[in-house]
C-alpha cells in the first residue's frame, strides 16, 4: 500500500526516468573505479616516483655533469623542474600502465566477470555505456597525472629546494613561482591528453576481448613497438604517425621563450588517436553481445 501511494503517478515517473542521467551513471562508474584497490595502489605508487626522484637527487646532488638522463640532471638545485621530469619519466611506462589497467577493467574486465552482459542488457544505450566507462578511465588518467604533478611540486619545493621558489629554464632564464607553476600545469595538461590517446586505444582493444591481460599486453607491447620503430632510421617517414615520437615535446615547457610547435603537434596527434580509439570502441560496443 505504501509503495502504491509513494508511486502515485506511475505513468509520468516511467516516462521521466526512462533514461538515466549520464552524470549519475558516470558518477557511479567513477565511484566504482576509485574503490578498486588496484587503482589506489597504482596512484600511490605513482606518488612515489617524484618522491624517489627528489630524495635521490637531494642526497646525491644529482647525476654528474652532463652524463645523467638530461632532464633529471636539470632538477638538481632546481626543484620546480622535478614535476616535469617526473611526468616525463612516468609517461614512458608507468602512466600508460595505469590507464591501460583502468581501460582493461572497464570492458574486458567486466566481460571476464560476466558482468558486462548485465550492462549490455540494461536499459542504457551502448554509446552512453561507452561514455560512462570512458569517464571512469578519464578520471584515473587525470588523477594519476595530478598525483605526480602535485607530489612533484611539493617534493621539489620541500626536498630539492631551489633558488627561492623559482625555476631555471634550459635556456638559462629564471621564471617566477607563478609562471613556473603555469609551466607545470601546461605539461600536466599535455600529459593528460597523451594519456587519453592511450586510454582510447586501450578501450578499443578492451571492447574486442574479454581478457584484461590482452589489453595490458597490447598497450605496453604497442608502446615498445613504437619505441623500436622510432629507433630505426630507415623508418623515419613513420615518425609523424607514432604517438610516442612527440613525447620529447614535454621538455619544451622548460625552454624560454616557450615553443608551442612540438606541444601542439603532439597534442593534435594524440587527438587523432582519441577519435579513432573512441570510434572503434563505440562501433564494437554497439555490435557486441556478450
Amino acid at each position: 500500500m505504501t509503495t502504491v501511494s509513494a508511486s502515485a503517478p506511475p505513468a509520468s515517473r516511467a516516462s521521466t526516468r526512462s533514461v538515466a542521467p549520464l552524470g549519475r551513471l558516470a558518477a557511479a562508474e567513477i565511484r566504482w573505479v576509485l574503490r578498486r584497490p588496484r587503482t589506489l595502489v597504482l596512484l600511490g605508487l605513482l606518488a612515489l616516483v617524484p618522491i624517489a626522484l627528489g630524495v635521490g637527487i637531494a642526497l646525491t646532488g644529482g647525476p654528474g655533469d652532463g652524463d645523467g638522463p638530461g632532464l633529471v640532471a636539470a632538477v638538481a638545485g632546481n626543484g620546480l623542474v622535478l614535476p616535469i621530469a617526473a611526468l616525463g619519466l612516468a609517461l614512458s611506462l608507468l602512466l600508460p600502465l595505469t590507464v591501460a589497467t583502468a581501460a582493461a577493467d572497464a570492458l574486458a574486465g567486466e566481460a571476464a566477470h560476466g558482468t558486462l552482459r548485465g550492462l549490455l542488457l540494461a536499459p542504457v544505450g551502448r554509446v552512453r555505456l561507452v561514455v560512462m566507462k570512458a569517464a571512469g578511465v578519464l578520471t584515473v588518467a587525470v588523477l594519476a597525472v595530478l598525483v605526480v604533478a602535485v607530489v612533484g611540486v611539493l617534493t621539489g619545493l620541500v626536498v630539492v629546494g631551489g633558488p627561492s621558489g623559482t625555476m631555471i629554464t634550459l635556456s638559462g632564464t629564471t621564471l617566477g613561482l607563478g609562471e613556473a607553476l603555469g609551466r607545470v600545469a601546461l605539461v600536466a595538461g599535455w600529459t593528460i591528453v597523451q594519456l587519453l590517446a592511450i586510454a582510447a586505444v586501450a578501450l578499443a582493444v578492451s571492447a574486442f576481448t574479454e581478457h584484461p591481460l590482452v589489453v595490458l599486453a597490447a598497450v605496453l607491447g604497442g608502446l615498445i613497438v613504437f619505441g623500436v620503430l622510432a629507433a630505426v632510421p630507415s623508418l623515419e617517414w613513420l615518425q609523424p604517425l607514432l604517438l610516442t615520437s612527440g613525447w620529447t615535446a614535454g621538455a619544451d615547457a622548460l625552454r624560454d621563450p616557450l615553443p608551442l610547435d612540438g606541444l601542439a603537434s603532439s597534442t593534435g596527434r594524440a587527438l587523432v588517436y582519441v577519435v579513432l580509439g573512441a570510434a572503434v570502441t563505440v562501433w564494437q560496443m554497439r555490435r557486441r553481445d556478450g
Partner: protein, 350 residues
C-alpha cells in the same frame, strides 16, 4: 542498428584518422611561385648588401645530407634535420637557441658581451663582443660597386642568375643561383640563395651536389616574423648555480692558423687548400672532442676516419662527403676542396 550503419561508422572513423594524420604529416605546402618584378643579379646582390637588418624572430631548419662523420657534441653536423630558434634585435643583439631533446645551448649577445649557456653542464661562457671578427669589409665600399665586382669575379667561374621566385617561410623570395661553369671540376652542382623580395634578407641557402636529387645541405628559415622583439631576450643573467667562465682569448686560436704554411691550388670552384694537419699537443680544440687533443694519440684518432689511399704523392686517408673531399697524408699534410678525389691527388702531387 543495421550492418550498414556500422560500416558507415567505421568508414567515418577511418576518414577522420586519414584526414588527421594527413594534416599532421603534410609538409608546409609547396606553393606556386609568387609573381615578382624581375631583378638582375647585380641589383639583387647590391640590395642585399645595402638592406637594413631589422629585428626579427624565426626558426632556422638545417637539413643536412653532407655525409659528415658524426662529431660528438655537435648534433647539428650529423645527417638529419634539426631546428634552431633565432631572435635578432638589430644592433648586434641576438639570441640563438639550439635545442637538444633534453637540453639546450643558448647563445646571447647583448651588443657588448656574448654569452654561451649550456644547460647540460650549467656553464655560461662569457666573451666580449668586439673581437669576433671586424665589420664586413664590404660595408666600407660602395655596395653597388662591391656587388658588381663580386659578381664579375664569380662570373669567371660560374653562371650567376636569378632563377625565378619561390616561397620560403611564407615570404616571397628571389632565387639567386650560382652554377659552376662546365670546365670546373667540382662536386657541387648548384648553390641557391633565397632572398626575401621585400626585406632583401637571405632566407635560405641550398647546396646541391653532383648526381644527387636531394640537396646536400639546406639551411633556411622555416618561420620568420619581422618586427620589434622583447628586449629581455637579448640580456643574459647567469642563473644561480651556474659556473661562469671567461672564454679563452681568441688570438691563441688564430696564431697557429697564421703560422701554418697554407697554399691553394686552382681557383674558383675547384680550389684545393693544402695545409698542415694539426699535430698532437697543438692545444687547439678539434671537433669539439674535449680531451682528445691532450692525448698523444690525438693524431691516430683523426686518421681513423676515411679510407686509405696512396699514389705518386704519397699515401694517406681520404674522407669523402657529398660536397667535399679531404685527404690527410701520412706526412701530415691536409688537402681539402669541393672537388673529386682526383683533383686533390693532382694538387698534392704538384
Amino acid at each position: 542498428m543495421g550492418r550498414r550503419s556500422w560500416v558507415g561508422a567505421g568508414l567515418g572513423a577511418a576518414l577522420v584518422g586519414a584526414v588527421g594524420v594527413g594534416l599532421l604529416v603534410a609538409p608546409a605546402g609547396a606553393s606556386a611561385a609568387p609573381p615578382l618584378p624581375p631583378v638582375s643579379p647585380e641589383d639583387l646582390v647590391s640590395s642585399v648588401m645595402t638592406a637594413q637588418r631589422g629585428p626579427f624572430a624565426g626558426e632556422v631548419e638545417v637539413d643536412n645530407a653532407l655525409g659528415l662523420p658524426a662529431v660528438p657534441g655537435v648534433p647539428q653536423l650529423a645527417d638529419g634535420t634539426s631546428t634552431v630558434r633565432v631572435w635578432s634585435g638589430g644592433e648586434d643583439r641576438g639570441r640563438v637557441a639550439i635545442p637538444s631533446p633534453d637540453g639546450e645551448r643558448t647563445l646571447v649577445s647583448d651588443g657588448t658581451t656574448r654569452w654561451a649557456y649550456d644547460s647540460r653542464d650549467r656553464t655560461a661562457t662569457r666573451a666580449p663582443a668586439g673581437d669576433h671578427g671586424g665589420p664586413p669589409e664590404g660595408q666600407q665600399q660602395d655596395p653597388t660597386a662591391a656587388a658588381t665586382q663580386a659578381i664579375a669575379t664569380l662570373r669567371q667561374t660560374s653562371t650567376v642568375a636569378v632563377d625565378g621566385t619561390a616561397e620560403v617561410a611564407g615570404r616571397a623570395v628571389y632565387q639567386l643561383v650560382l652554377t659552376p661553369q662546365p670546365t670546373e671540376r667540382t662536386l657541387l652542382r648548384e648553390v641557391r640563395v633565397a632572398v626575401d623580395a621585400e626585406t632583401r634578407q637571405p632566407l635560405q641557402l641550398t647546396v646541391l651536389a653532383q648526381g644527387q636529387g636531394e640537396p646536400a645541405l639546406r639551411v633556411g628559415f622555416s618561420e620568420i616574423t619581422y618586427g620589434p622583439q622583447d628586449p629581455s631576450l637579448f640580456t643574459f643573467t647567469p642563473p644561480p648555480g651556474t659556473t661562469v667562465r671567461d672564454a679563452p682569448a681568441r688570438d691563441g686560436e688564430q696564431r697557429p692558423e697564421g703560422d701554418r704554411p697554407r697554399s691553394t691550388v686552382g681557383d674558383g670552384w675547384d680550389t684545393v687548400v693544402i695545409g698542415q694537419a694539426p699535430q698532437p699537443g697543438d692545444g687547439r680544440p678539434r671537433d669539439g672532442q674535449d680531451g682528445q687533443d691532450q692525448r698523444p694519440e690525438g693524431a691516430p684518432d683523426l686518421s681513423a676516419l676515411g679510407q686509405p689511399v696512396s699514389g705518386p704523392w704519397g699515401s694517406g686517408r681520404v674522407i669523402t662527403t657529398a660536397v667535399a673531399t679531404v685527404i690527410v697524408t701520412d706526412d701530415g699534410r691536409i688537402a681539402a676542396g669541393a672537388v673529386p678525389q682526383q683533383v686533390l691527388t693532382e694538387a698534392l702531387a704538384r
